[in-house]
Amino acid sequence: MLRRALAAAALLAAALGADAAGHVVRLSYETKANPPRYLGEGTTIDPQRPGLTIELLRLVEPRVGVRFEFVRVPWARSMYLLETNQVDGVFHGSWVAERERFAAYPMKDGRPDASRSIFTQSYYLYARKGTRLAWNGERLATEGPIGTTRGYSVAKRLRTLGANVEEENDLPSSLRKVLAGRLEAYAELENMAAAEIARHPEEMRDLVKLQPALRTEPYYLLLSKGFVAREPALAERIWSAIGEALRSAEYRELERKYGSAT
């Protein structure tokens, strides 16, 4: 109630051309850890070490005059919430043509503007040692199914490569399925898989990361169509501010804080 009143007051202030500070933008991200972009599993957010992207967005807040609120839900749910305008934005998402239906990307000359992406990351295939799967960067030869996180755009790429794709909800159990042979391989963002494997080094020691990367993409803050329609200028300012913040001294501080490995 109070928040809604505040939001209304902020909207009023924005309409009057004043500083948009206090304008609340609701963002969601995954419940999986993607170190160092976001840390910790589940819906909780550690205020001390939430993750590099969250802290990056904190740098954006004063630049644009908004306040971000974060919720963590599974990726597919994030997409759903974005589609139904129940959140204003989701990070991080690579550009996929189909997503343009319900998500807005920072654009330049009709193409996604990579300069205003948050970061670039790669998908790799993780398989058991001795797998018969063959991947040379161009062609994929596999008999068994390949898993990936539900809603990830890489699923489409895998299908294009002719794979039988199974969308999964849970990374640890998916990796165990690979170890157990129920999945031939699992396509996962490098950071996420590495973090999970690092957490269970003994159990996961038979997993291998297949080179080359399945895909390397710039990842963006996706904003909802509803939000962009409502606040087109603000949306642009947020995306632009991300690019600015990435180049700032504060961000380099943060990179040091999070060890900025990988």
């Binding site: 419940t31 589940g42 819906t43 909780t44 139904t84 129940q86 539900r150 809603g151 969308e167 909800n169």
Partner: protein, 449 residues
């Protein structure tokens, strides 16, 4: 007159009694009509109760299935795992009671899955459905998030099969109850009301005056209504019959007595009349015919004499010096003298002769079919007997009296009585003049010395 029984009610009258509607049937129909309405209403209420409780039961079962599916649905929705969601929905729709599964997001109005059993009605969920809706809440470390809403529904039609047996039982019970009530009521109503009434009515109809017996019911019926108004009715009716009978008997008795009385009185009256007639023709002192009697008899005798042309003689008597006897010895003595003369007349005359006291000391004797000589002989016998007969007075004294007599004769019976009397008186006058105590004949053709 003996009390002759009157006939009982005739057939037409009896029919009128018999064709009356039995009060018990009317009572029965009305009471039962009301009961049927009541029973129908009660049964409907019970059926409604069964229906609604079955509906509640269905709702509770649906709610029970929420517990089964809640967490899995929350997980699937949380992950937006459409495959899983679909599998869960299919699992739910396989539950017998669930006919509609609908999972949607009330915030965005997006329907994730909606499944119907093929048997379910096509209509949208509404009043005809028993629906259980519940929020799908995903529990996580940060609290819980409502990720959607689910609806498990059963069509109202699905409620019916499970209450069919209950309703059939209810209706059957209501029917059995009604039938039992009918039979029980009918049995008792007939036994306690119709039979006693019918029997009393029949007995009352059969009551015939004069042959009236107390009415009663059959022993079984009598026992059944012992101590009820029917007994009172019967007793009152019998008391009434008793009173009517007693009055009727008293009436018959009284009319018999009255008839007897009338007959007695009539007989007495006849006797009195006869006595009265005799009295009119008799002289009470001498018990001879008086003048009126004499004239009647004389008329008959004269008429017969005239018809047969027989001679008729008439003798007049008169006591000599009767006034002197009266004066000397009193009227009683006079009366005794007259009675003595009457005795003499009675004894001396013949059976066919008629003696009479015509008045005072004047007597007459008519002698039918008698010649002058025969008449004179009789008259002489009378005179002689009287003259020699002492008359005992009350004082004990004896006196003697004489009588003078005058004889007249109608030789062929053609003379009139008055003429004959006049001639006899003339002869008597002559006898008086000749010295009394003697007989003279008149008219001149017959002379006695």
């Amino acid at each position: 007159m003996a009390a002759r029984p009157e006939p009982a009610l005739d057939g037409a009258q009896q029919h009128v009694f018999a064709s009356r509607h039995a009060v018990v049937d009317r009572l029965f129909l009305r009471a039962f009509g009301v009961y049927i309405v009541f029973a129908v209403v009660l049964t409907l209420v019970l059926v409604a109760e069964v229906f609604f409780s079955a509906k509640d039961q269905v709702r509770q079962e649906l709610a029970g299935h929420e517990q089964v599916f809640r967490r899995a649905l929350a997980r699937a929705l949380w992950d937006m795992d459409v495959t899983q969601l679909d599998a869960l929905a299919r699992g739910a729709i396989d539950v017998p009671v669930i006919e509609l599964v609908r999972i949607h997001d009330p915030t965005s109005n997006r329907v994730f899955v909606e499944l119907r059993k093929p048997t379910a009605p096509a209509a949208a969920s509404g009043d005809a459905w028993v629906a259980h809706r519940f929020p799908i809440r995903f529990e996580h470390a940060g609290g819980s998030t409502v990720v959607g809403e689910a609806e498990f529904a059963a069509s109202g039609a699905a409620v019916l099969p499970r209450i069919q047996r209950s309703i059939a039982l209810l209706v059957a019970l209501a029917l059995i109850k009604a039938l039992a009530m009918w039979l029980i009521f009918r049995w008792f109503a007939r036994r306690l009301v119709r039979d006693p009434l019918a029997q009393l009515t029949q007995a009352a109809v059969a009551v015939a005056p004069g042959a009236a017996r107390p009415i009663d019911m059959q022993p079984a019926t009598r026992r059944a209504v012992e101590g009820t108004e029917f007994e009172a009715l019967r007793d009152a009716f019998n008391a009434l019959i008793e009173r009517i009978e007693s009055n009727r008997r008293r009436f018959a008795q009284l009319s018999g007595q009255l008839e007897e009385e009338v007959a007695t009185r009539t007989r007495e009256l006849q006797a009195a009349n006869e006595r009265l007639g005799a009295l009119a023709a008799t002289d009470p002192l001498t018990l001879l015919a008086n003048r009126r009697g004499f004239e009647s008899f004389a008329a008959i005798v004269m008429a017969q004499a005239a018809r047969s042309a027989d001679p008729v003689a008439l003798v007049s008597f008169d006591v000599d010096h009767f006034k002197s006897v009266n004066d000397a010895h009193g009227h009683d003595a006079g009366d005794r003298v007259l009675q003595a003369l009457a005795d003499s007349l009675r004894h001396a005359s013949r059976a066919a002769d008629v003696a009479a006291r015509l008045g005072g000391d004047e007597f007459a004797l008519m002698l039918p079919r008698t010649t002058a000589e025969e008449a004179a002989e009789v008259a002489e016998r009378v005179r002689a007997a009287f003259a020699t007969r002492p008359v005992m007075l009350a004082s004990g004294r004896e006196i003697r009296a004489t009588v003078s007599a005058g004889l007249a004769l109608s030789g062929d019976g053609s003379a009139a009585l008055a003429t004959l009397l006049g001639q006899a008186d003339e002869a008597l006058y002559e006898a008086k003049n000749a010295g009394r105590d003697q007989l003279r004949s008149g008219p001149k053709q017959l002379r006695l010395a």
